[in-house]
Chain length 335, copies 2
């Protein structure tokens, strides 16, 4: 088993009120780079910020790293278009961050990202991969892609109150800018990503398609963004079995409708509850209050812990360790 | 402990008779990319070739991977200027392969590589790193750098008969092309690399300097190329303790004079003998006959096995496993 984290940026995240994946829109560009470092090294090593939400909720990378420390699984970082440097090792499948989806062609390199990621997925020697994402603003671009494909248009949010009206406005503007109507990109995943998506969706979908082609089982680790990636895989004509592993926080989010999306896309759904209310700690309280919910493959990491017989209490203890390490640590390098 | 492999290319390897790090000069450009994949995944996953010498001697990546499978240490791939794509994750510190050293400025980006690698080394959170290299033709560029720095000009070879006269001719041409005499680059490691070196030497030296600055112990894993990297570190004014861990094959090579070089550069030398004569297997026979000798951090990996109490018999058994896997495997992807 290899845990694959596809990372990148979209300037859609700069729209006020869209994302909580960073303390403010200026530092959000560093979140995916820091998430890769936390997963690889246990703390941000060159990124100038520790990713927290405006209210201080830590990045879900803390949870995925905690599980990695307990299970010692192998990881693979994939750069689908980062907006800032990282000292974590990656395979590059995309050179450019996505533009604001309200532009006419926010991901001009979508086809290349798909192809590079497919080649990478095909090359992986593993029996099984678990694929997560880190891209602030990603639920809005996921909504864009789901709309363009004509799939169920339900997405979750890293904010306690999902700014759905704002997201729908942004997606409507995006569709208009790209001269698309709902369902116009059905069967054409590259068009959906290049015109109303983000590069990470292309990276996840491509990696998945390549892995499935070469006989590797794929679990998509996350919520509605991963459902959008699964929709891209289905619209590429791939009918292989796939799993979706998410958190109880996404499952409890009515705006996400994750069970229905999973059923639509023929995904075997696993929901894992880390019982963070029992943690009673700042690393976990914000999740209980409805923030973050998912990201960085958190739901998949929790499912792996559960499958390995590691208790959620042990996961929570390690989450506290990682949280204390990353919030106390000064980054070693200031760019 | 983290095992760091700095990989790249120099067109110096295309000079007939210089290197055995590939079946012929056309495929040698793939050797570093394949070595990274073997270390990371246990076999080449996208590289079109399995790196073997013209006589069939397998890449020392087989040995380092074998030890990794036994010890399960963490690895980091560093791209200092690869000449072909790889599906192994890397941190990129250099964008370009080196030109033939007989050109006037074969590594124009040397300063950037040094700086990027130093930043990476500083960012690593580890108490200890072991740093190896993979670059065909690297002993010739090492000879160039040692000459330009005014250090002992002894280097080993991946060939049983070291083509020293050829290397000296190439280095003399290189010095002439760059208008340098022996010792002219003393105290100026960037000049030495940019004018008569290769990008991997800059990557190894920079990573080492950054790691030492941030309190990380460094073992240079290899033979005379790593000694040349150590010379660059010393000529950058860094006096910290450093270790050099190499194989008995390099230690037995009189043309390498590795004990003297280590003493010159104040390096604590460890020599590990994998007792390949006891292996009596094609994966090891060529080493006994004097081929390859070192590379891909092999000497450092063997020293780690020894320190962990893993017997050389166990290492040899695993070397056979990895060898059989990589020689039987068809690459999953043909570019």
């Amino acid at each position: 088993m290899r845990f694959v984290l596809v990372a990148g940026c979209t300037r859609t995240a700069e729209i006020d009120g869209i994302s909580a994946a960073g303390a403010d829109t200026d530092v959000m560009v560093h979140t995916p780079s820091a998430d890769l470092e936390i997963l690889e090294y246990g703390k941000p090593t060159s990124s100038p910020v520790v990713p927290v939400s405006p209210t201080g909720c830590p990045t879900p990378a803390v949870v995925s790293r905690a599980v990695r420390e307990l299970l010692e699984f192998e990881t693979l970082g994939v750069d689908a278009g980062l907006g800032s440097p990282t000292c974590a090792p990656t395979v590059t499948v995309g050179e450019e961050s996505g533009e604001d989806v309200r532009r006419s062609r926010p991901v001009p390199g979508a086809e290349d990202v798909f192809e590079n990621a497919t080649r990478l997925g095909r090359a992986l020697p593993d029996d099984e991969i678990v694929v997560g994402e880190t891209i602030p603003g990603g639920t809005t671009t996921a909504l864009g892609v789901l709309t363009a494909l004509g799939e169920r248009t339900t997405v979750s949010s890293s904010l306690p109150e999902n700014p759905l009206a704002l997201k729908r406005d942004v997606v409507n503007d995006a569709l208009t800018a790209s001269d698309l109507s709902e369902g116009d990109a059905a069967g054409d995943p590259i068009a959906a990503v290049s015109r109303v998506g983000d590069p990470v969706l292309a990276g996840v979908a491509g990696t998945t398609i390549g892995a499935l082609e070469s006989g590797t089982d794929v679990t998509l680790a996350g919520g509605t963004q991963l459902a959008a990636a699964a929709a891209l895989v289905r619209h590429a004509g791939v009918d292989d079995p796939m799993s979706l592993a998410t958190t109880s926080f996404v499952a409890a989010d009515e705006t996400a409708a994750i069970e229905k999306s999973a059923a639509d896309l023929d995904l075997a759904l696993t929901v894992t509850d880390p019982e963070f209310a029992d943690g009673d700690h700042p690393a976990m309280d914000a999740y209980v209050a409805g923030e973050a919910k998912e990201g960085v493959g958190m739901g998949g990491a929790l499912a792996l812990a559960d499958r390995a017989g590691v208790s959620m209490a042990a996961v929570r203890d390690r989450v506290v360790d990682v949280y204390e390490r990353i919030t106390e640590a000064e980054p070693a390098v200031k760019p």
